[in-house]
């Protein structure tokens, strides 16, 4: 399938990971493409969505209801199957809030090794702003066969123990400056989520996720991203990098940028993030 969508996208390390709204509009009836909407707000899809898109909720579909962890292979296969996704389906994900939850869903699908999964550049807001079609019709989906695949946490996910071993190597804190400095225990404008300590993981660089995005929620160009992460932050594509935020959603956005747009070879998302680190007994904290 053609992945050529725009000069901007062609310049990225893995241009096949990102599509434009124009590309999506042309491929809505494509049988090999399934579109997923993944939002912070659980009702937003129901107010109107891209025609044919299916809803994927980060909390009720991708998280285990008991353990703080993602679903297992069996449940994941069920979630995919119910949305008409087979192992070789091209999946395009978009969402609210500059694609945070879309990037998070893409990252979780990566844990299960789904090969062809892409983001819509600019997410839901750009589609809406361009006046493109929205519908409240929920598509009738024929379930697909999706194999039960074991989740592989080794390549792109970091646990607390991995981060402790990683201290001294590149860490990127993508939260707001106030959270990084320890003044705030939660995101500005968001509820207090109960961290006992404020600050950041020792040695972490503060690079708020939003610096990788334009005002309209699209990603910045490869040139601008290189200026930020390579020149300003001194990272290189061969570095072993761990990114974190509060619960792992904003750092999924940065993980996507480093991995797919800049071609970093080893980036892991620490999804326990500050709600784990800031509550853990005995771990080092820097202010």
């Amino acid at each position: 399938m053609s992945t050529s969508t725009s000069d901007k996208i062609e310049a990225y390390a893995h241009p096949e990971r990102l599509v434009t709204t124009a590309w999506l509009a042309e491929h809505l009836d494509d049988e090999d493409v399934v579109v997923l909407e993944s939002d912070e707000d659980v009702l937003l899809y129901d107010t109107g969505h891209v025609p044919g898109a299916r809803k994927l909720d980060w909390h009720t579909d991708l998280n285990d209801p008991l353990t703080r962890d993602y679903v297992d292979g069996e449940r994941f296969a069920q979630v995919m199957s119910e949305r008409g996704i087979a192992r070789d389906t091209t999946v395009v994900i978009y969402g609210d809030k500059s694609n945070w939850w879309a990037a998070y869903a893409l990252w979780v699908m990566t844990l299960f090794g789904h090969e062809d999964v892409r983001l819509l550049d600019g997410g839901r807001a750009k589609w809406v702003e361009e006046g493109r079609e929205l519908t409240t019709d929920v598509p009738e989906v024929t379930p697909a066969d999706y194999p039960v695949v074991d989740r592989d946490d080794s390549a792109v996910r970091a646990f607390k123990a991995d981060v402790l071993d990683h201290l001294g190597s590149p860490l990127v804190d993508v939260r707001s400056p106030g959270e990084y400095s320890g003044e705030l225990l939660h995101m500005p404008d968001y509820p207090q989520e109960g961290a006992m300590r404020g600050g950041h993981i020792p040695g972490a660089a503060s690079v708020p996720w939003a610096r990788a995005a334009n005002e309209d929620g699209t990603f910045r160009s490869r040139e601008e991203l290189e200026a930020l992460y390579l020149e300003e932050q001194g990272l290189s594509a061969s570095d072993d990098v761990v990114a974190y935020c509060r619960i792992g959603e904003r750092s999924s956005h940065t993980w996507f940028v480093l991995t797919h747009l800049l071609g970093f070879e080893k980036v892991r998302n620490y999804d326990g993030s500050w709600t784990e680190w800031g509550n853990s007994v005995g771990v080092p904290v820097e202010r």
Binding site: E40, D41, V42, L43, L44, D46, T47, D57, H59, T60, D96, D189, Y190, P191, Q192
Partner: protein, 162 residues
């Protein structure tokens, strides 16, 4: 803590709404919440451009502004006003539940609403428990404002009769 289906300690309109939610399946509960988000009344003109005079509810994931008025009648009738953007339908839906349940009650009735009332609508499973905090925060702030304003009204009345 009372059972999720316990409704005898809720005001009548709230108990009826809770019953409506429990009468339908989980996906239909989301649709009901969506309807309530659409029915949330717009702010009256006197609040136009004056969000800074309203209280911001930080427990909601998306910004929500709340204003509480307590009328000068013998019941100290409570009036509730909310403002949340259309991109935040869940937050609007929670506000819709509280508006439908509490607007027009007396200050005393609002203050008697149990703090765990948001959990009586069978929504925790449908929207995830994490998201329920928004409605708990709204109710807490409504009650706090009613208490403040009601105390002020009572003090005024005391002065007049003195």
């Amino acid at each position: 803590m009372p059972e999720e289906t316990e409704r005898t300690d809720l005001p009548e309109a709230m108990a009826e709404l809770a019953e409506d939610f429990h009468a339908v399946s989980q996906p239909e509960r989301l649709q009901l919440l969506l309807e309530l988000s659409r029915e949330l009344p717009a702010l009256p003109e006197r609040y136009d451009g004056s969000l800074d005079t309203m209280e911001r509810v930080d427990e909601c994931q998306s910004p929500l502004f709340l204003a509480v008025e307590v009328e000068d009648d013998p019941e100290h009738t409570v009036r509730l006003f909310f403002d949340a953007p259309p991109e935040a339908p869940t937050t609007r839906g929670f506000a819709g539940i509280l508006h439908e349940s509490l607007d027009g009650l007396s200050a005393r009735q609002v203050l008697e609403v149990p703090d765990d009332a948001p959990y009586r609508f069978g929504l925790a499973e449908a929207v995830s428990p994490l998201r329920m905090r928004g409605m708990v925060g709204m109710l807490g702030r409504i009650k706090r404002q009613v208490r403040l304003r009601d105390d002020a009204r009572t003090a005024e009345a005391g002065q007049e009769s003195a």
